[in-house]
């Protein structure tokens, strides 16, 4: 087993902070990288060293393999942690890091490449005994083959154009009687849209849940799983709320999914942390979707219920220490939920809302964890993902974990930018969510694509407080402009601006 001394964190924001904390826990030095937009970012401040890697656009900084590898060498690092996103699932990056004589904290370039090719990944997983969504892998040759395939796959099923996209040439078929005409319609639509009438068939999963299994492999065929996460609360395929355990799984299903995942990972001789994403249908059958060959955003819920530090384990496995646990060492305790706090405005179709954070108070106390990448005074840059923090809570039961999340989000004050915290609170209070009856269409079905804020119970009081704030600023303004500027931290008070603008028109 090697001993690392210094690790380059090839990422930014909350996940860079998370990895820096794991390095500190291990007594390792953490080296941050930053673009021009992140000169004053929290991950730079918390790191032991920090190096500029380019201008604000990610393509010129956080995605520059050459610069990152050169920086890691210049800084005297032994290893590189890619986080998630950016280059985390880029096989070329893993290769370049290894070629430079450094350890890539993640799976081999081969594993990344295999799982990055979605068709090859599904084939490899199917070969390893992992269930996939039944369907024709290739386009069907003719009507007879199509009919036969349809009978084999079962209904409801989807007909999809091989050249397709945007829903054109796509048909949902609920019953066998409707198949022939739907096939004709899909082919004709595909031909006119793409000049290519070939279609393939796939089982249609109604109201599926997204349930994923966290795995960890030692690279030599040893592997364990760390149970599941339920990530069905999504908007446009973007996870918003995650939890562990899943309210949907029976112990038998959990064991079956875990076993299947471990078998597949072991057969791939996979190294490090990874996640097998599955669709779970209403009958409890599960189908492999894809494998993420990196740390997952939502890893804190797994850490809460298993007591495991996944980033520490990644580093230990990468150092050649083998898996830190046997399967029998791992157990779930209680329940954990995570809410991703984004700088975005749900009412504007979840439009990003970057800007300067003028006030910040993070939640704390029992059972609350805040993985934030920002601080008061920081400007959320326009160039990157608008995730500013992940709040996760734990409780002995799902209800208590959710109650603690409500408490934590009510404590969370983020001023100056719009966040999705009120939207999270609306979901937490919604009866179907509370009952755990969710699927990947939940947000779109229950809240629509531009959820307006719930009418609060205190509109008059809120208006009165706004008026009092204006009066306080006005009073200061009247006394002395110097004192007033000071009171709002050196920036002209927005209230005072409003008043100044009001005067000429008065």
């Amino acid at each position: 087993m090697r001993t690392f001394r210094r690790i380059l964190v090839a990422n930014r924001g909350e996940i860079a902070v998370r990895i820096i904390r794991a390095c500190r826990d291990l007594g390792l030095e953490a080296v941050a990288v930053f673009s021009d937009a992140d000169r004053d970012a929290l991950h730079v401040r918390l790191a032991d060293r920090a190096y500029r890697v380019g201008p604000a656009p990610a393509a010129e900084s956080y995605l520059r393999i050459d610069t990152l590898v050169a920086t890691a060498r210049e800084a005297g690092c032994d290893a590189v942690h890619p986080g998630y996103g950016f280059l985390a699932e880029n096989a070329d990056f893993a290769e370049a890091v290894t070629a430079a004589g450094l350890v890539f904290i993640g799976p081999s370039a081969e594993s990344i490449r295999l799982m990055g090719d979605k068709t090859a990944a599904r084939r490899a997983m199917a070969a390893a005994g992992v269930p996939t969504v039944p369907g024709t892998e290739a386009p069907v040759a003719d009507d007879a083959e199509a009919e036969a395939a349809a009978r084999r796959i079962g209904f409801p099923l989807m007909i999809k154009a091989a050249a397709g996209g945007g829903g054109k040439g796509m048909r949902l078929v609920e019953r066998p009687e409707a198949f022939a005409s739907a096939l004709r319609a899909a082919r004709s639509e595909a031909t006119s849209a793409f000049g290519d009438g070939r279609v393939y068939l796939e089982r249609f999963i109604e109201r599926p849940r997204h349930v994923e299994i966290q795995v960890m492999g030692d690279g030599r065929g040893g592997a364990v799983h760390l149970f599941e996460r339920e990530c069905s609360i999504q908007r446009r395929h973007q996870k918003v709320i995650e939890e562990s355990p899943s309210p949907a799984l029976t112990p038998a299903q959990r064991e079956a999914m875990g076993e299947v995942a471990v078998r597949a990972v072991a057969s791939l001789k996979y190294a490090g942390a990874g996640t097998l994403e599955f669709l779970l249908d209403q009958e409890g059958r599960f189908y492999f979707l894809e494998m993420n060959t990196r740390l997952q955003v939502e890893h804190p819920v797994t850490e809460w219920v298993t007591g495991v530090d996944l980033v520490r384990a990644q580093i230990e496995v990468a150092a050649g220490g083998g898996l830190p646990w046997r399967q029998a060492d791992l157990a779930q305790r209680g329940w954990s939920i995570e809410c991703r706090v984004y700088a975005e405005d749900p009412a504007q179709g979840f439009m990003p809302s970057p800007g300067r954070i003028t006030a910040l108070r993070a939640p704390a106390g029992p059972g609350v964890r805040d993985d934030s990448g920002v601080y008061e005074g920081f400007t959320v840059p326009i160039h990157y993902d608008p995730l500013i923090s992940k709040v996760s809570t734990w409780g002995p039961t799902r209800d208590i974990a959710i109650d603690r999340m409500r408490r934590a989000l009510r404590e969370y004050v983020i001023g100056g930018i719009t966040t999705n915290i009120p939207f999270h609170l609306a979901v937490l209070d919604e009866p179907e969510f509370r009952a755990g009856r969710v699927d990947t269409g939940y947000i779109a079905r229950v809240f629509g694509d531009r959820p307006a804020p719930r009418p609060g119970p205190d509109a008059d009081l809120a208006a009165a407080l706004a008026a009092a704030a204006a009066a306080l600023d006005g009073a200061r303004n009247g006394q002395a402009s110097c004192a007033s500027a000071a009171a709002s931290g050196g920036r002209p008070s927005p209230w005072r601006l409003a008043l100044r603008q009001a005067r000429p028109s008065a």
Binding site: G85, R236, Q238, E344, G349, F350, M351, P352, P354, T358, A359, R361, I382, H383, Y384, D385, P386, R406, L409, R410, V413, G415, G416, T418, I421, P422, L425, D449, P453, R454, P455, G456, P457, D458, A459, D460, L461, A462, A463, A464, L465, A466, A467, A468, A469, A470, A471, L472, G474, A475, A487, G489, P494, W495, A498, Q501, A502, S505, A506
Partner: protein
């Protein structure tokens, strides 16, 4: 210190005084209805803490940006349009007026993923017209008012700066 806010179909005239000891009095007028709220208030950074006569203790964050006042209060957000009390007209920001050519602009640097309309199409207010990818997310931009698409200056796939005109309506 008086102004008018509009929200949820209501228009509220607010008239506030705050004494040096933090005792605030706010008169709220809504049509024929008048009420007064009295409370103790203290400002700490961006936060406002208030104690009401019935013992209720609240914290609020009050933010004013682009013609709107946003009050965060106990996990709920109250978003109000700020209106000049004498003129009853929008001071700035808010929805654009309905005369002349209208534009839909990129709110931040990004990439045009998809144009949902073609030149000559008639669009309704609130109809999605273009999808822009920014900050790793796709965002559908909508027309602020009804009109006919006159021009689409940015092609699908092109990179655009903040404020770039994407759709011109008339």
């Amino acid at each position: 210190m008086a102004f008018v806010v509009r929200f949820g179909g209501r228009a509220l005239r607010l008239d506030a005084t705050v004494r040096a000891d933090g005792q605030a009095t706010v008169r709220l007028t809504e049509g024929e209805t008048r009420q007064a709220l009295a409370f103790e208030v203290v400002r700490q950074g961006g936060l406002l803490a208030a104690r009401l006569p019935d013992g209720r203790s609240v914290e609020a964050f009050v933010d004013r940006r682009e013609g709107r006042v946003t009050v965060w209060l106990d996990g709920a957000v109250y978003d109000m349009e700020l209106v000049d009390e004498r003129w009853g007209a929008r001071r700035r920001g808010g929805a654009a007026s309905s005369e002349g050519p209208q534009t839909v602009r990129a709110p931040m640097p990004g990439k045009v993923v998809k144009l949902l309309v073609a030149v000559g199409d008639r669009v309704e207010a609130g109809q999605g017209v273009v999808v822009v990818e920014a900050m790793k997310m796709e965002n559908e931009l909508r027309a602020g008012s009804a009109g006919v698409v006159k021009a689409l200056p940015a092609a699908e796939g092109s990179a655009v700066e903040a404020g770039a005109v994407l759709v011109v309506l008339e």
